[in-house]
């Protein structure tokens, strides 16, 4: 149980800057997910917390203690590797107890600690086996057991589920979440999987090219992305980006969509953006998640002023079972909507949709930042 503070941390290899000033701060028991594409520096940051990479500048603190120059074994952290990194020559029991063995604990103490962890992870029957005799999921559990046995202040996970098959991945994801709820230890978890990030994190740090793009709870990252990169990285299908102009109609502020031969459309905003005056008449990008565009339902629309009705041609339907992903044409731009299969749209025909403007985001087309 500990706080973790990362203060303006940088990493350079020669002239190449991998991390360009990272600031993150975790309170006790938080579950931080570092999310980003490969090469964004998330694993480097994790290795720096672990002490496997040196810190070029800035400082990392665990419980207010600066750990920059502290040896990994003295940082009170434990790490689970993507490859599991189980020692092939040792039994499962010795793998789990190895860190205690290195710390000079007695055989009896080690055995009881190993038993406790094995019981927690339900791997008691595997203790005498070698890693080569285990399945992928079992190896994953042993790797977690090796981290758990020391009862560290911070757990570090480096893409721990990416070597598992799809079903096992989902199961282990839930298991990690349960484990965190039970133990309440601070966790830093690296992944490139947005679902893992959304389901596990108490806060997500989305990284790109060595910079944290947004550091916020999952729901906030999803609903109010800091920029277009974050908006497009999270969510599937990705958020619609509709080009338009910020305009006023009467006393209402909205996004005007240029017409391609057809009538121009005005989508009134539910809440005015900050610095609305500055953006009036300027080009903006309207970001709307597919699930915010649904089939028009007059009774629902009547009760919610944020819902705006639009009629559009339906281009393509992609049924996924639970929802039907629908590609529609809105003022010459292709927009994705998520509708219920029971709405029974027909490809090539016009249909009425409603857009929930309370869930709209506005972005600056040049800087791609949220307005």
């Amino acid at each position: 149980m500990a706080t973790l503070t990362i203060n303006n941390v940088r990493k350079q290899y020669g002239n190449v800057e991998i991390l360009k000033g990272i600031d993150l701060s975790l309170t006790d028991g938080e579950f931080l997910v570092l999310l980003g594409p490969s090469g964004c520096g998330k694993s480097t940051l994790l290795n720096m917390i672990a002490g496997l990479e040196t810190i070029s500048a800035g400082e990392i603190r665990i419980d207010q203690r600066v750990i920059n120059g502290v040896h990994p074994k003295d940082r009170d952290i434990a790490m689970v590797f993507q490859s599991y990194a189980l020692y092939p020559n040792m039994t499962v029991a010795r793998n789990i107890g190895f860190s205690l063995e290195m710390r000079g604990q007695s055989k009896a103490d080690r055995d009881s600690a190993v038993q406790r962890v094995a019981k927690l992870l339900q791997i008691e029957h595997l203790l005498d086996r070698k890693p080569a005799q285990l399945s992928g999921g079992q190896r994953q559990r042993v790797a977690m057991g090796r981290a758990l046995v020391r009862d560290p202040k911070v757990f570090l996970f480096d893409e721990p589920l990416s070597n598992l098959d799809a079903k096992l991945r989902v199961d282990m994801r839930t298991e990690i979440k349960k484990l965190h709820q039970r133990l309440g230890t601070t966790v830093v978890y690296v992944t490139h999987d947005q679902i893992e990030a959304m389901t596990l994190a108490s806060r997500i740090a989305i990284m790109k090219e060595g910079i944290v793009q947004q550091f916020a709870p999952p729901q906030e990252v999803y609903e109010r992305p800091a920029n277009m990169y974050v908006a497009s990285f999270i969510g599937s299908p990705t958020m619609n980006f509709i080009r338009g102009t910020l305009a006023a109609e009467g006393d209402r502020l909205g996004v005007g969509l240029r017409s391609d031969g057809g009538p121009a459309r005005f989508l009134p905003l539910h809440e005015a953006p900050a610095q609305a005056d500055r953006w009036l008449g300027q080009e903006v990008i309207l970001g709307i998640r597919p699930e915010a565009i649904t089939c028009y339902d007059p009774t629902v629309a009547a009760g919610n002023p944020a819902l705006v009705q639009v009629g559009c041609p339906v281009n393509v339907l992609e049924p996924t079972g639970a929802d039907t992903i629908t590609y529609i044409q809105l003022c010459g731009q292709e927009v994705v909507a998520r509708i219920k299969p029971s709405d029974r749209m027909v490809e090539g025909e016009n249909a009425d949709f409603m857009i929930d403007m309370a869930r709209a985001n506005l972005f600056d087309p040049k800087s791609e930042q949220r307005i």
């Binding site: 496997l52 074994k73 434990a78 020559n89 860190s99």
Partner: protein
């Protein structure tokens, strides 16, 4: 026949079968060609001198006699010293065993440091070590003689051990380095976090994983050092000479009647240990050479 044994269509006609037997015949001829010297040596070593004089080179011994072996082992004259090959055989053992162990362990340590604790210039150092395995051994004679003199080890078994360790390090480092490259770095990272240091990781994790390459290295080093003649002849004095030098002296300094059976027995004695090592560890040798290509 069935698709279980082969997906290929069955051979048709006599053509392929004749070709196959022809192949076997050629292989047999090659095997005989290679085995013949050994057969002559073994059979001659069990003959009496009379039989050698009267019989043919290729004939098998009529009465098997081990006299030549005991004579070569205990009484043959090596130069002026008539105690047989035994003391020189022991000399070789005293040199080979520590030299093999030390050079193998240091090779493993080098390979470990070069792959898992990559320091600035590691590749340059490895390239230089690698270069050492291309150096002809004659190049080392003079500088090594000076070094041994300086260290006060000239003419001793300890000096020869040092020579073999130094010369062998290039090879053993190469073997272990290439093997350790295939062991994932994450193991070392995990062990570091678990609290193991440089030597603990080496002894508790790397060495236990090294059995295949260790067998290869031991066979290689044992054969090289046991069969060495040049260093033994150059750096070992009189009673400290290894068995290869003793064999040469025995064969070259006999006066009077040439005792072919004793020469052959002595040569067999000098050559047996490497044969035994191959016979015992040969299958590990093949496995070790192909190790690393398969994920552990």
């Amino acid at each position: 026949m069935s698709s279980l044994t082969s997906a290929l269509p069955p051979a048709e006609g006599m053509g392929p079968r004749v070709a196959r037997w022809g192949l076997y015949l050629i292989l047999l001829l090659f095997a005989a060609y290679y085995l013949l010297p050994l057969v002559v040596m073994v059979s001659t070593s069990f003959k009496s001198l009379d039989e050698i004089r009267t019989g043919s080179l290729l004939s098998l011994p009529r009465d098997i006699s081990t006299d030549a072996w005991t004579y070569a082992w205990t009484r043959a004259c090596i130069g002026a010293d008539c105690r047989g090959m035994a003391p020189y055989f022991m000399n070789s053992l005293v040199i080979v065993v520590p030299a093999v162990i030390i050079s193998t362990l240091f090779g493993a340590l080098n390979g470990y440091a070069l792959t898992k604790w990559r320091f600035r210039g590691a590749n340059v150092i490895f390239a230089m070590i690698l270069f050492g395995s291309f150096l002809p051994s004659q190049v080392m004679l003079l500088p090594m003689a000076q070094t041994l003199g300086f260290l006060g080890l000239a003419g001793s078994a300890a000096g020869l051990i040092l020579v073999h360790v130094v010369y062998g390090l290039a090879f053993t480092t190469l073997f272990f380095r290439n093997y350790y490259v295939s062991i994932p770095d994450d193991l070392v990272k995990a062990a570091t976090i678990d609290g193991a240091g440089f030597f603990q990781i080496f002894t508790k994790i790397m060495l236990p994983l090294s059995l295949p390459i260790m067998v290869v290295t031991i066979i290689w080093q044992f054969t090289q050092i046991w069969n060495d003649f040049l260093f033994g002849a150059s750096f070992a004095a009189g009673g400290a000479q290894p068995v290869t030098v003793a064999l040469n002296n025995l064969v070259n300094t006999t006066t009077g009647v040439k005792q072919y059976n004793v020469d052959m027995a002595a040569a067999m004695i000098a050559g047996l240990p490497t044969l035994v090592v191959y016979a015992l560890a040969g299958k590990y040798f093949i496995r070790g050479l192909t190790a690393g290509s398969v994920k552990g």
